[in-house]
């Protein structure tokens, strides 16, 4: 049995310690917001937060997550109201939407560590997330907007 803390809930899962966190979260816990895209840490569809870092769950063994705090897209905010989510909605970023759990989870780390990201900062943070629909121009726009929203919230 492995004990996991996911979205502030504790779970006991009976899986191989080698199983990637992605499949534990998706198949065992039924939290399907975290997506399978490539399986080799190339695309970023599977990004979730492990102790606040934008970890790629497809190559992260569940054993690494023991004793750590896991946040998936389902647990990023209570009401779809993380600044990234609000900005994504305002800009209508997603097309098919499949990659955007990962995009948003990556953007959330950027926005936390750099409240006023420049285009270059956005490049540095988001170049690991692939979008086949080509929503990149809107991802960029939405991150700038999210930064503004976040700033306003603080005031």
């Amino acid at each position: 049995m492995i004990t996991l803390n996911v979205n502030n809930k504790t779970y006991q899962v009976d899986v191989s310690p080698d199983m990637p966190l992605l499949w534990v979260v998706r198949d065992t816990l039924g939290l399907t917001g975290t997506k399978f895209g490539c399986g080799v840490a190339q695309c970023g569809a599977c990004v979730l937060h492990l102790d606040g870092e934008a970890v790629r769950s497809c190559v992260t063994k569940v054993s690494r997550a023991e004793g750590k705090k896991i946040i998936t897209i389902e647990g990023l905010s209570a009401n779809n109201d993380h600044p990234a989510q609000l900005a994504w909605e305002e800009i209508d970023v997603p097309q098919c939407g499949y990659c955007h759990s990962g995009q948003i989870m990556s953007a959330a780390v950027l926005l936390r560590e750099n409240p006023k990201p420049t285009d270059k900062d956005i490049d540095d943070a988001m170049s690991g997330n692939i979008c086949r629909c080509g929503t990149y121009p809107r991802v960029r726009k939405a991150i700038h907007l999210a930064a503004e929203m976040q700033e306003k919230d603080k005031k």
């Binding site: 939290l31 997506k35 695309c43 779809n80 097309q95 939407g97 990659c99």
Partner: protein, 720 residues
């Protein structure tokens, strides 16, 4: 909009969603593919029939349910159809629930979400249908109030009596309304009267795509469901000679391992299915298999040979003419100043972000399927035929699609899932790894074009195009003695009027490689060859490439498009050291022009500074969705032009995953400006037409900057 969006249109949840408890208190409309709107009266129906007959339902609480007959794969059908309905029905957009229809072509007509056809093929019916319902609800209220219909109007889900300001909710009127005769010619709004249509409204599916609640195929779960992964023949056909599953069986969770024979077009692709209790165990089991394949009896192709053979054909074969006017061959043969060149475009993978997957539950006399499916009707037909089960016993459910681009309009992966479910006697989700998705095709066919032309007095005197590449239709029984009718796809109609001597021919070319539509289909490759060659002709004629097109495209809409392109891009005001390229193509009844601006990169090669896109798609619904589709098409076109190439060696695909079939990333994307031409023409497609002009506009810009003509894709921007 109900944010509970687990799109699950099993009967029970359907009835729950629409508030039907067995009694038929709703309005439904039956829409045989081309017939007029027909009202279904409750008396004609049993409760069970309703879901099979309705496209739009209004229940007694006033909730509107749209049964979307088309897939949502990013292109916006989930939103655009309700935006049309809300306009003429006079309801709030948020009061429309959307559920995905099951496969049923008798009812919905063609359900293939392809050819950028969702809006253009159904908007008139949707407007008509919504206006019909609105008028019936108004009539029902007027009858109840005993007032003139002319004094009543509808707004935000209510009928209002203007003089008295009396107001009734649609839900209170549906029962009465459903007893009325449907008006034959309901009054439709003029474009200038639209309140919702043509507005950049926020997409209904956006919120659920931001918190993990949108259910894609891979997210769907069925009670008792197992998982399967399949090791398929890497040469894309051929048989299993033998396999060793001793290591695979040792993996905890692996349950069954057996041979599965999936139909791909008209060929069988054998594979070894590993069924397990988790996706991970199935994928690990598949990796542990040792399979020996019997690959005799078909050609093992190599990419270089394919293109060599195409070139050889084009040297000697005239091909089957699709378009022919005047006598281009004679003029070209006579001319001392002809241009005669070969263009080439590679095989390409769709590579949707959501790898292929499908759930099937074989239940003896009935099969139910759930998955990211672009063509539920075809899947229903195909499975019915293959499995010998009546069509109405094959239930095909669509989920959200994590990308489609043509690949998910195919029947192979549902078929394989059905075979596996039958074998194990349980519901199963078959998951394709990224490698499976990339290495198993079908692909956009690789094509060579021979383009010949002669100019005279600043205009094209003769033009001759020949295409040698696989015909997708041949896989579905298309005749081999007729030209591929897509050989001219992408080429603008008005060229036929201005170029008197012109021929476009298909030089038939076959390989054993399975091919399939890929976003914008043959326009994506034709566009590159034909619009690049148009640039060569302009250079040959000593004309500005944009003016050259203006001269040859004597059509009002084209002229307007070209004017707009010139205006927004500053084409004539360009500076030294800037390369500008133009290309215009037609695709699925929309015309799109791109202008690309490039400059030399300090670190070598060329960089794209800007892309301007002008789309003329006629009547349209949501300008922001159009802009998104154009942006996305350009990004996909950028990958197709500068990165992507599926290559074959000894019959096997050489690429594996995103590390050797890399996608453009956020760092690669130039600024894009999108403009939409306003007019009242018939609606054209939106999801695909902006892709074809990108590659030629880019390479034409590179020619403008460097004098280097790129005739083979992909090419590297870094080493131009």
């Amino acid at each position: 909009m109900d944010s509970k969006n687990n799109i699950d249109n099993t009967r029970r949840s359907f009835l729950k969603l629409t508030g039907l408890g067995g009694a038929a208190l709703c309005m439904g409309f039956y829409l045989p593919s081309d017939a007029a709107v027909t009202l279904i009266k409750p008396s004609d129906l049993t409760a069970a029939d309703i879901e099979m007959c309705a496209w739009i339902l209004i229940n007694t609480s006033g909730k509107v349910t749209l049964v979307s007959h088309r897939a949502e794969m990013g292109q916006g059908a989930y939103h655009s159809i309700p935006q049309i309905i809300a306009e003429e029905l006079e309801v709030n957009l948020k009061d429309i629930d959307v559920i995905f229809a099951q496969g049923n072509e008798k009812k919905y007509g063609n359900q293939i979400t392809g050819g950028s056809s969702t809006i253009r093929s159904s908007y008139k019916r949707l407007l008509q249908l919504s206006a019909t319902a609105r008028e019936m609800l108004i009539t029902a209220a007027a009858l109840q109030w005993k007032v003139s219909v002319n004094d009543c109007y509808a707004e935000a889900g209510h009928v209002i009596h203007r003089p008295s300001a009396k107001k009734m909710h649609y839900g209170e009127l549906v029962l009465q309304a459903s007893k009325l005769e449907a008006p034959k010619n309901p009054k439709l709004k003029k474009i200038s009267e639209y309140k919702l249509i043509r507005q950049p409204l926020h997409r209904l599916d956006t919120p659920m795509k931001l918190n993990g609640s949108a259910i894609f195929g891979l997210d769907k779960k069925i009670p008792g469901m197992l998982y399967a992964a399949v090791e398929r023949n890497p040469r894309l056909r051929g048989k299993v000679k033998s396999f060793d599953d001793s290591e695979a069986k040792k993996i905890p969770g692996v349950k069954n391992i057996f041979v599965v024979k999936m139909m791909v077009h008209n060929t069988i692709r054998e594979g070894i299915a590993v069924v397990a209790d988790s996706t991970w165990a199935a994928l690990e089991g598949k990796k542990a298999l040792r399979v020996t394949w019997d690959d005799t009896g078909f050609e093992h192709v190599n990419s270089l040979e394919i293109f060599k053979r195409q070139e050889d054909f084009l040297k000697i074969k005239e091909g089957l003419p699709l378009k022919s006017q005047g006598n281009p061959t004679a003029i070209i043969e006579k001319s001392k100043k002809k241009v005669d060149v070969i263009y080439q475009t590679p095989y390409q993978s769709h590579s949707c972000m959501e790898p292929l997957n499908c759930i099937a539950h074989f239940q003896g006399d009935k099969i139910e399927i759930w998955g990211p499916i672009q063509a539920p009707g075809w899947v229903q037909d195909f499975i019915s035929t293959q499995m010998g089960i009546a069509k109405d016993k094959v239930i095909v459910n669509m989920t959200f699609l994590g990308g489609g681009f043509g690949r998910k309009a195919f029947t192979d992966y549902p078929h394989e899932a059905v075979l596996i479910s039958k074998e194990i006697g349980a519901p199963v989700q078959v998951v394709w790894s990224r490698e499976d998705d990339l290495k198993q095709g079908p692909y956009r066919p690789g094509i060579s074009y021979r383009c010949e032309g002669v100019v005279s007095e600043g205009k094209i005197e003769a033009l001759k195009f020949r295409m040698a590449g696989q015909n997708n239709d041949h896989w579905s029984g298309g005749k081999k003695d007729v030209p591929n009718d897509s050989t001219s796809e992408g080429f603008l109609e008005p060229y036929y009027a201005s170029i008197k001597n012109l021929s476009i021919s298909d030089v038939p070319f076959e390989t054993p490689l399975p091919t399939m539509w890929w976003r914008s289909v043959y326009a994506s490759t034709n566009g590159f060859a034909y619009e690049s060659f148009m640039d060569e002709m302009a250079v040959e004629a000593g004309k500005d490439p944009l003016d050259f097109r203006r001269t040859h495209l004597q059509d009002k809409r084209c002229q307007k498009l070209i004017d707009k392109m010139e205006e927004v891009s500053g084409w004539k005001k360009r500076n030294k050291n800037e390369g500008y390229g133009v290309a215009i193509t037609e695709c699925f009844k929309s015309t799109v022009g791109h202008i690309v601006k490039v400059s030399k990169n300090i670190s070598g090669g060329v960089k794209i500074d800007k892309v301007w896109a002008v789309m003329d798609c006629g009547w349209y619904v949501n300008p922001d969705i159009i802009r998104a589709q154009v942006e996305g098409s350009i990004v996909m076109g950028l990958g197709a032009a500068t990165i992507h190439e599926i290559t074959f060696k000894d019959g096997k695909v050489e690429q594996n995953n995103f590390y050797d079939y890399p996608m453009p990333r956020i760092t690669d994307i130039p600024p894009i400006e999108v403009y939409i031409i306003e007019n009242e023409e018939d609606a054209g497609g939106v999801g695909e037409p902006a892709l074809p002009p990108f590659a030629p506009a880019l390479t034409n810009a590179i020619f403008d900057l460097t004098g280097k003509r790129i005739r083979k894709l992909p090419f590297s921007l870094a080493t131009v």
